[in-house]
């Protein structure tokens, strides 16, 4: 297992509702726990993944995710079982959409 | 272990246990507490590492039901020696889980009808064969040389894809993988391991059978399962898990 941590400062989109869990820790899939937290305007993402050695790819996927949403005061935790970047991005977007009441 | 040797050690006052195709049933005399008169108890179990198929599960259930109907409040000792559920297509076709559940329910019914129920793993206890017998008792005990497990480490390694030597190493320190009664003791699955005078142990156990399922609490006290009881308490109580 490998843990990766990301912190993006100065977002502008806050999410109000209670913590949500999206996705499942199954082969090629992941779960995303997303919750509001006082982080001084930052968005943090903690990843625990069964697929080791893909830090650079995670970094790029997380960067693009934050580019899309500009989240502020949001804490995200991920348990991953070898999901591809496409699936990771999809789940993250679903998690945000769920918080926004769009799903 | 030969069940007759065991029975002689457990019941010096005498017993009338018979074996039919690995199924044990009968009665035995057990001394009362502090010199009180001996009492007759029912003995039900299996021997020869019996695979638990539909017939033997049903036979045990029959013996339990008969005891409940004919001998109210008579204590029951469940003798456990099984290699687990029988691994046959026929058993699955006939719904073996229903037979095992039926056995479990019969034991539970007996408990609710005032029968003290004690389990004893005297040789081998594996997964499905154990769960509806010894693990359904008020309290389950084991002999020191008993084997208790869900499956062997090689098979576990194959299924979990964790290398066997890693499992073997972890098993030394973690009761959660390794076979053996002391691990089940630490996790609360066993009330105690019996050394020495078995007759005395069985007499005491029958008289001191706990009411209610305190295994998670025992596992917490003994350090073998540190989270089960806190999780149960958290759900029943304020919703927050107090970890040690």
């Amino acid at each position: 297992m490998e843990t990766l941590q990301y912190r993006f400062e100065r977002g502008d989109k806050r999410l109000a509702s209670a913590a949500r869990l999206v996705g499942v820790v199954s082969s090629g899939n992941l779960e995303v726990l997303i919750e509001a937290a006082p982080l001084g305007g930052a968005c943090t993402i903690d990843v625990t993944t069964a697929a080791t050695g893909f830090g650079a790819i995670w970094g790029a996927v997380m960067h693009d995710f934050q580019q899309r949403w500009q989240l502020a005061d949001v804490r995200i935790a991920i348990n991953d079982m070898g999901a591809t970047p496409a699936v990771v991005s999809l789940r993250l977007d679903q998690a945000v959409a769920t918080m926004l009441g769009e799903a | 272990m030969d069940w007759t040797t065991l029975a002689d050690a457990l019941f010096p006052l005498g017993h009338r246990i018979t074996e039919h195709a690995q199924f044990l049933s009968g009665t035995a005399d057990v001394a009362g507490p502090d010199g009180a008169p001996a009492a007759t108890i029912a003995v039900i179990g299996t021997t020869g590492h019996a695979p638990i198929g539909v017939e033997i599960a049903l036979a045990q259930a029959r013996a339990v039901l008969d005891t409940v109907r004919a001998h109210p409040r008579r204590a029951i000792l469940l003798l456990v020696d099984t290699q687990g559920q029988r691994l046959r297509h026929r058993d699955e076709m006939l719904g073996i889980n229903s037979y095992m559940a039926h056995l479990g329910k019969c034991v539970d019914l007996a408990r609710r009808n005032g029968h003290a129920i004690v389990g004893l793993v005297y040789d081998q206890a594996l997964s499905g064969g154990f769960i509806t017998s010894g693990l359904m008792a008020d309290a389950c005990y084991a002999l020191p040389a008993a084997t208790i497990r869900v499956m062997g480490l090689p098979a576990m390694a194959r299924i979990t894809k964790v290398p066997e030597d890693v499992l073997t190493e972890l098993a030394k320190s973690n009761p959660v993988f390794a076979p053996g009664p002391e691990n089940y003791l630490r996790m609360g699955g066993l009330q105690a391991i019996w050394d020495g005078d078995l007759a005395q142990h069985v007499a005491q156990a029958l008289h001191a059978a706990p009411s209610g399922d305190a295994r998670a609490a025992l596992g917490w006290q003994r350090g073998g399962r540190k989270l089960a009881q806190p999780v149960i308490d958290a759900i029943a109580g304020d919703g927050h898990v107090q970890t040690a």
Binding site: A51, A56, I57, G82, T84, P85, A86, V87, L90, D93 | -
Partner: protein, 555 residues
Amino acid sequence: MTAPNRAWNTLQLNRDARLQRARATLGADLAGKALPSARIADLLHAVLECGDRVCLEGNNQKQADFLGQALAGLDPARINGLHMLQSVLALPEHLDVFERGVAAKLDFSFSGPQAGRVAKLVAAGKLDIGAIHTYLELFSRYFVDLPPRVCLIAAEAADRHGNLYTGPNTEDTPPIVEATAFKNGIVIVQVNRIVDTLPRVDVPGDWVDFVVESPQPYYIEPLFTRDPALISEIQVLMAMMAIKGIYAEYQVERLNHGIGFDTAAIELLLPTYAASLGLQGKIGRHWALNPHPALIPAIEAGFVESVHSFGSELGMEDYIRARPDVFAVGADGSMRSNRALCQAAGHYACDMFIGSTLQIDLQGNSSTATLGRISGFGGAPNMGADARGRRHASPAWLKAGAQARAGRNVIPRGQKLVVQIVETFREHMQPAFVERLDAWELAEQAKMAIPPVMIYGDDVTHILTEEGIANLLLCRSDEEREQAIRGVAGYTPVGLARDKRMVENLRDRGIVTRAEDLGIDKRLATRDLLAAKTMKDLVRASGGLYNPPKRFRNW
């Protein structure tokens, strides 16, 4: 001038000698052309000669498995050094013949399940590979320089005269028999049963020498069955992009689909998503395709007008029989397939091939070769190649050709659409895009003349991933081509190394197209779009006519 004393009929004489030996060996056990299965080894020992070229029928679907087992069990002291000709090495006994020394040389096309063992036997010096072919090449060589002395084939049934019914799974049989029978070779066939009257005659009896009723029906693999339950949301998204970005864009009417879940997803989106775009009757009308169960909903919706097949597919027999307007069906009602003709059809009569692959390099070359496995090609290279001999026009062919030639002073012609559809990462985070194909290393290991490329980059017109579509027809330089590929390679190292500014420029020019550029909302890419989500749904769609193999059921 004529050569003095030159005998011109040595093959005939040799054939007569073999038949004579067989008759002598089998004696009264030979009834006409039929012999008991217990005597198959005696027959083979009698008719075979050391070093013979032997064609054993077997492809990715049906297998002459009984004859294959018999061959593998021969005494290598009596029969050895055989030169095997085979479409596909699928069964363990196909390699046992080499392991045991009965055979020594191999010309073949594909060895999927046995690819690892092939590589080991080559390394051990027990197997000498002549060449790895595509199906069409291999069949062609049977007629030119590799005619079999003996062929071992499989048929559904034979009559007393040796006439054969090969039925829906005719597949490779016709060219094998023809190449053998008309070069004085010996044709031996295993049949599931011998009957008085055949439903129809697929191979005339006078081309057949020996018939044996095998103890078990021949083995057949349901290779083209994909359980819709296993199609992912990402595959649905890619299928939407394929339909809107390529099928609709080029009005693709005649096509071939490669095998896999990506293309199964497209098939299952035709009656739903494609229909909602008004594409029925405009795309996907005529197919060179095995009878994919996933195509049933599109057939039932009237989307698909005709299907010509390489082989059949287990469980589809009754459905095919009930849809004779769509499939190639004989007067008896059952399907007839023909791999050689369907390969030609896929090559010349289709406007598009779309299929998956394992690796794509920066030139667009694609390969399914991986280290330690000599797997070969099968049919994909013939499907996934521009048919340079094609002369008839169609809108899709013309548009592709026009895009490739725009701005260049060359004579107009069309081009086949060759689309590679891949997710950027395969299982276990293996990137589908690489700087250098594993095929290079495999070629070095196995001492091949050239790296085993499945589809050459200069034939590939589009690469479709979940990140977008790269239209290589529109690229005007090697650099553009490379950046277009990097532009759809997502988070793979190849994709991360793209020149972002240049990729945005390519996007402006329509060379790289994202889902949103096509007006596709990714959130709508759910499994609910699939016309069938389970095998049971396929059975329902077929009106109960499709009977899936046992391994695909959950009922």
